[in-house]
Structures are given as structure tokens and as C-alpha cells.
């Protein structure tokens, strides 16, 4: 017995204790419970992974649903793919929990924050450990719930609750696709168990598999913020920064990538759907990177960067290099969590300032944050031998083998990535300080997690995920192509160089470039007006349709009309009938007389007919 359930049950226990009694606990006790439970979970996951051989560990706890031929068990399983996810989620999760002690120290609802974070860990680990689609879906929806709760953590801020609603509602579209996919799997396979579905996948017609794969992709697209459902992720930055780092960069948003990689036997037999994954990933990567070029909010820059990097992961999966996608998932979790936590440290230092135009020159004032953030920036730019280089390179090489043009688009995107990340770095840390606050370095509880993540961002690439996953994802041996690697590295360096020229060497250049581009710049600055288009195409028609047709028409017109009509009709009829009740005995007698005459006549007529 490996007791896999302990891994997810521990954070759940933390959630229950903090959620129910946390109000009465001191901060120290809340910290101990929240962080202790996640750390124990990490230790247990580590122990499980160390004891993991070539085969997967499968544990059946109880039958959850038995309906006719369909059996859904509460089953957990760990194989090498799960192992990667487990360690990333619990490891990065622990660091971010520790960081949160410092970041949330002065916030109200302290215990509530940690209770939600623990609940998130529980659902995320359930998602990762699940051995069938339905249990995965439970975790999938649970992390969505926690995402909603944590984005709207500062619920007195309207923008925060709106962002929470947006995230939840946009994800419904994706979840609708996922639910349909599960129904199709039940109909055509008769089971939701991963092992049996993937075993039977070879015997099913390609059309069925392609439909399932496309529907799963819709689900992944919502959760992993891919075009066209990415719009919720940038708004999700309204939540506290540790939430952005944990949920909206390192773990939850990668659930879609994990799900696609987990379903790879289906995707491999549906090449059209796999091609679609690659196109969607590539387009999202390039699209989001261009938006990132012109943002001024430091967290928005990293949010679009996250969307873009998730696109890379899908590109990797879509070109058949699932292990490269997971590789990038892991390194991205390191450096993107670091970027967000570093940004949080900057925001903390400036007492809540997020606009990069009011920063600058912070290199000397908060050196630890600067140096750790620099590691993440170099890593995401793909400079060897940092972590980002290895995984991005693996994806780009796979893309080249699939279709060379994809490689070129990916490489240009890598250049854009390097540019916008270093633009953020230069605007934040170099030049003259442009703000009014008095920056102060963050406490140790914040800087130590930063340092650990910085180390991982530097050396994380040497954890050779493709080798570790070789048995699961048999990939063709990629020939070492030095020129491809050199070109993508050069693209990253050029991006950094241009950022240096525009923001440090010639500070006025950036403004003149943006003004000379005019309309194009405004288009990018306004995020291609996608939110406005959705608003006009979907939200407004829905709202006005609800107001005019459903509210005024159906509710006020039809339903209220029917109820009021019955009332007023019986009132009118009664007002007319009451005139018979005159109180005059002789009029009653007259009516009785008439009545009996009519009765007699009728009887006589019937008798005559007979």
C-alpha cells in the first residue's frame, strides 16, 4: 500500500481545520497547519515517486458510481507523468505557501486565504492523481472553484469579483466541451477508466476518436487559457499575487496540457485533432506574446506571457512531442512562479504599485528580488544552460520536424518573449526611480522561496523529463540539429538586445517607435480589442436578449400576464355575477320560476325527441 490518498487528503485536512476554526487561531497556528499540511503532502509525494518503478501504482478505494454497465471507481494512480505533476504541484505549491506568509501578512481574511489555498491543493492533487476522467473532472471543477474564490479574494473590490465571475463563466464553455467528451467516451467505450479507455482506443473508428479529442481540446482550451478562451486569465490577476503564481501560472492552467498529454493514445489516433492542438498552441503563443509587448501593468505582462508559454506547451503536445510539452510545463512552473512571486515582491516593496511606468531603478533598492527575477527572465528567454532553454528547445525542434514554418513562428515568438520580459525588467529595475513610495526589500520569508525557485529556474533543465517519460511517450530520436538550436537562442538574445537598446541605451526610442507605429500600437495596446469584440458579440446580445425577451417578454408578459389575467378575469366575472345576489326575495323567486320553466321545457323537448 502506497496510501496515495494521503497526498491529496493532507491539504484537505488543512483546509477543514483552517476553514472551520481558523478565525480563532493566531497567524502562527494558521501558518503551521496550512504549510505543514502541504509540506507533508510534498514529502509523501516525494516518497511515492522515489518508490516508483517502471509500472504505475494503482489504488482502488471504492466504487463511486455503478449504473448499468458503467462503473466509476474512486481510483488514484501514479505513473511517471503523474509523478512530474505531483512534484511540481506540491513542491512549487509549498514554496508559494511559504511566500504567502510574508505577502499576506497585512491582509484581512488571513485564515480564509490559506484555507482556500489548501483546498486548491487538494483539488489539484485529486486532478493529477485521478485514474479516470470523472475523478479528474472533479479536481478540474474544484480547482476552477478555488480559482474563482481566490481571484475574488478581495471581494469588496468590484473589479476582483467581476474577474472571478469572468474566469468561472468562460471556463464553463470549456467544461461543456469536456463533459460532452466524457459522455462520448462513456457511449463508445462504456468506461471512463484511463487504462481501459486507452487500451480500447486502437479498436475505435478515427471519427469517434477525433470528435472526443476535439471536445477534450475545448475543455483544455478553457482551463489552460488558449485562444479563443484565454480572456479570463489576464483579468484573473486581480487576485493576490501568490494566487497568480500558484494557480494562474504554475499549476491549474497547466491542467489542460496535462489532460491532453494524459489522453495521448486518443490524440495519436486522431491526427486531425492533434494538428488542431498544434495550430491552436502556436497561434496562442504568438498572439499573446504580441499583446505582452505593450502592457504597462507588470502582472499583465506576465499573464500574457503565461498564455503564450501555455501555447508553447500545446505546440509541443500537438507536434507529437508530449514529453517536451510536459518538460516545458515543469520549467515554466519554476520560472513563471518566480516571475510572479518576484513581481509580487516588487509590488510589496512599492506598497501596491503595479504600473511599470511608476517603477524604475529598483535594482539597488531590492537587490535580492532583482537577482532572482533576473534568473527567471534569462530562463524564460531561452538562454542556455538555463531551464527554459532546454524545454523550449525541445519543443521547437519537434515543431521543426513536424513543419518547418511552425519552428520559425515559434522562434520569432521566442524573440518577442525575450523582448517583453526584459522590457519589464529594464522598466522595473533600471534607469531612474519614477515613483513616490519608499521601496524596501521584502522579508526573508519572501526572499527564500524566491531564491529556491531561482536555483530551480537555473538548473531545472537538467532534470531530463523526456528521458524520464521515455516509456510513456515513445518519441522518435531527434537528430541533434545545432543550427536550429543556435537560431532560437539567437532569437532570444536579439530580443534582449532590442529591449536593452530601446529602454536603456536610448530611452526615448521606445516612445518614438510606438508613436511611429500608430494604429498598430494602439491595436496591440488594447489587446486586439478581443474583450470588446466578445462584449459586443456575446455579452451584450445575451444581456439585452435576457432583458427584452426573457424578462420583459416571457417573465413580465407571459407568466405575470397569465397570473394577473386569471385574477382580473375572475374579479370581473364575480362583479357581474354578484348582481344576482340582490337580497330581494321576489327576484330569487322569479329566477326559480324561470329555472323550473326552462327545466320543464328541456325535459319536454327531450321527451318529444325520444
Amino acid at each position: 500500500m502506497h496510501r496515495l490518498w494521503l497526498i491529496s487528503a493532507l491539504p484537505f485536512a488543512g483546509f477543514l481545520i483552517n476553514g472551520i476554526f481558523g478565525r480563532r487561531f493566531s497567524k502562527g497556528v494558521v501558518n503551521a497547519i496550512a504549510i505543514g499540511s502541504v509540506l507533508l503532502s510534498f514529502v509523501w509525494a516525494l516518497k511515492t515517486v522515489l518508490g516508483l518503478g517502471e509500472d504505475r501504482i494503482f489504488e482502488h478505494y471504492f466504487n463511486w458510481i455503478v449504473a448499468g454497465g458503467l462503473q466509476v471507481g474512486c481510483d488514484f494512480a501514479v505513473d511517471r507523468l503523474t509523478a512530474v505533476m505531483l512534484l511540481v504541484v506540491t513542491g512549487v505549491g509549498s514554496l508559494i505557501h511559504i511566500y504567502s506568509i510574508g505577502y499576506m501578512a497585512h491582509e484581512g481574511g488571513y485564515y480564509r486565504f490559506f484555507a482556500y489555498m489548501n483546498l486548491f491543493m487538494f483539488f489539484m492533487l485529486t486532478l493529477v492523481l485521478a485514474a479516470n476522467y470523472l475523478l479528474l473532472f472533479v479536481g478540474w471543477e474544484g480547482v476552477g472553484l478555488c480559482s474563482y474564490l481566490l481571484i475574488g479574494f478581495w471581494f469588496h473590490k468590484k473589479s476582483a469579483t467581476d474577474a472571478g465571475n469572468k474566469a468561472f463563466i468562460v471556463n464553463r464553455i470549456g467544461d461543456f466541451g469536456f463533459s460532452l467528451a466524457m459522455l462520448m467516451i462513456v457511449v463508445s467505450f462504456g468506461t471512463l477508466d484511463f487504462g481501459r479507455v486507452f487500451q480500447a482506443a486502437a479498436t475505435k473508428p478515427e471519427a469517434v476518436l477525433a470528435t472526443i479529442a476535439m471536445l477534450l481540446l475545448v475543455g483544455a482550451c478553457g482551463k489552460s487559457a488558449q485562444f479563443p478562451l484565454y480572456v479570463w486569465l489576464p483579468d484573473a490577476m486581480e487576485g493576490p499575487t501568490p494566487v497568480s503564481a500558484l494557480i494562474h501560472a504554475a499549476t491549474m492552467v497547466t491542467a489542460g496540457v496535462y489532460m491532453v498529454a494524459r489522453s495521448f493514445p486518443i490524440y495519436l489516433r486522431a491526427p486531425a485533432a492533434l494538428e488542431m492542438v498544434a495550430y491552436m498552441g502556436l497561434f496562442t503563443a504568438a498572439f499573446a506574446a504580441t499583446i505582452g509587448l505593450a502592457q504597462n501593468d507588470i502582472k499583465k505582462v506576465f499573464a500574457y506571457s503565461t498564455v503564450s508559454q501555455l501555447g508553447y506547451m500545446f505546440l509541443g503536445a500537438g507536434t507529437g512531442a508530449f514529453s517536451a510539452g510536459i518538460y516545458h510545463l515543469m520549467t515554466h512552473a519554476f520560472f513563471k512562479a518566480l516571475l510572479f512571486l518576484g513581481a509580487g515582491s516588487v509590488i510589496h516593496a512599492l506598497s501596491g504599485e503595479q504600473d511599470m511606468r511608476n517603477m524604475g531603478g529598483l535594482r539597488k533598492k531590492i537587490p535580492v528580488t532583482f537577482w532572482t527575477l533576473m534568473m527567471a527572465a534569462i530562463s524564460i528567454s531561452g538562454v542556455p544552460p538555463f531551464a527554459g532553454f532546454f524545454s523550449k528547445d525541445a519543443i521547437l525542434v519537434a515543431a521543426y520536424q513536424h513543419a518547418p514554418w511552425m519552428y520559425w513562428v515559434g522562434t520569432i515568438t521566442a524573440g518577442l518573449t525575450a523582448f517583453y520580459v526584459f522590457r519589464a525588467m529594464f522598466l522595473t529595475f533600471f534607469g531612474e526611480y519614477r515613483g513616490h513610495e519608499h521601496p524596501h526589500e521584502s522579508p526573508k520569508v519572501i526572499t527564500i522561496p524566491l531564491a529556491v525557485l531561482a536555483v530551480l529556474s537555473v538548473v531545472g533543465g537538467f532534470i531530463r523529463i523526456p528521458v524520464w517519460l521515455e516509456k510513456i511517450f515513445p518519441t522518435a530520436e531527434a537528430p541533434e540539429n545545432f543550427s536550429l538550436v543556435a537560431i532560437s537562442v539567437a532569437a532570444g538574445l536579439i530580443g534582449i538586445g532590442i529591449a536593452y537598446i530601446m529602454y536603456i541605451a536610448k530611452p526615448g526610442l521606445a516612445d518614438s517607435v510606438s508613436s511611429s507605429l500608430g494604429g498598430l500600437y494602439r491595436l496591440v495596446y488594447n489587446k486586439y480589442f478581443v474583450d470588446e469584440i466578445y462584449d459586443a458579440a456575446v455579452v451584450k446580445p445575451l444581456v439585452s436578449g435576457s432583458r427584452v425577451v426573457l424578462w420583459r417578454g416571457v417573465d413580465a408578459g407571459l407568466i405575470d400576464g397569465a397570473v394577473n389575467g386569471v385574477g382580473s378575469t375572475s374579479q370581473g366575472l364575480g362583479g357581474w355575477l354578484k348582481l344576482f345576489q340582490s337580497g330581494n326575495i321576489r327576484s330569487y323567486a322569479t329566477w326559480v320560476l324561470f329555472g323550473s320553466i326552462i327545466l320543464l321545457l328541456t325535459l319536454g323537448l327531450i321527451g318529444a325527441v325520444r
Partner: protein, 102 residues
Amino acid sequence: MSGPPLNWYLILSAVLFALGVAGFLFRKSIITIFMSIELMLNAVNLSFVAFSYQLKQVNGHVFAFFVMVVAAAEAAVGLAIILTVFKNRETLNVDQVNSMKY
């Protein structure tokens, strides 16, 4: 068989009934109205008995007795009501006893 034919009895009965109805409808005094009701009942009794005699069956007689019983009971209750109405309203004009209305 001797005596007048059945038709005569029935015509007499109808005339008495019509008189009762007319009295019920057109008189104002409650006492008169009450007497009109008794007249109608007795008109009906007459036709019952006439038919019974004609058909040589006892049913009509029995029914006539029932009607008498009912009439007696009605007289007891009705006269009590009339007395109470007069005590309270000091009138026996039926047109003035009309407070039971909408």
C-alpha cells in the same frame, strides 16, 4: 267508476298552484307569501291523491302524508322566523327585508 274525471282534479290542482305562485311573487306581506307556499303544497297534494285514486295505488297517498309532515315542520320553523323578523324589523313587508345581499 263514478265521480268527476281525473282531468278536472288536475286542472283544479294547476289553478291552485298557479294562484300560489302568483301570490308568492306579487304579495308583499310575508304571512301571505307563507300561505301561498302552503297553497302550492296542497295543490300538489291534490294531484298526488287524484293520481293515486285513478291508478289504484297507495304511493300517492303516502306521498301526500309526507308533504303534510314537511308542511307542518315548515310552518313551525317559518312562523318562528316570521315572528323574529317582525320583532327585529317591526315590519312584515318583504321588500324591506333585503339586507342579505352583496
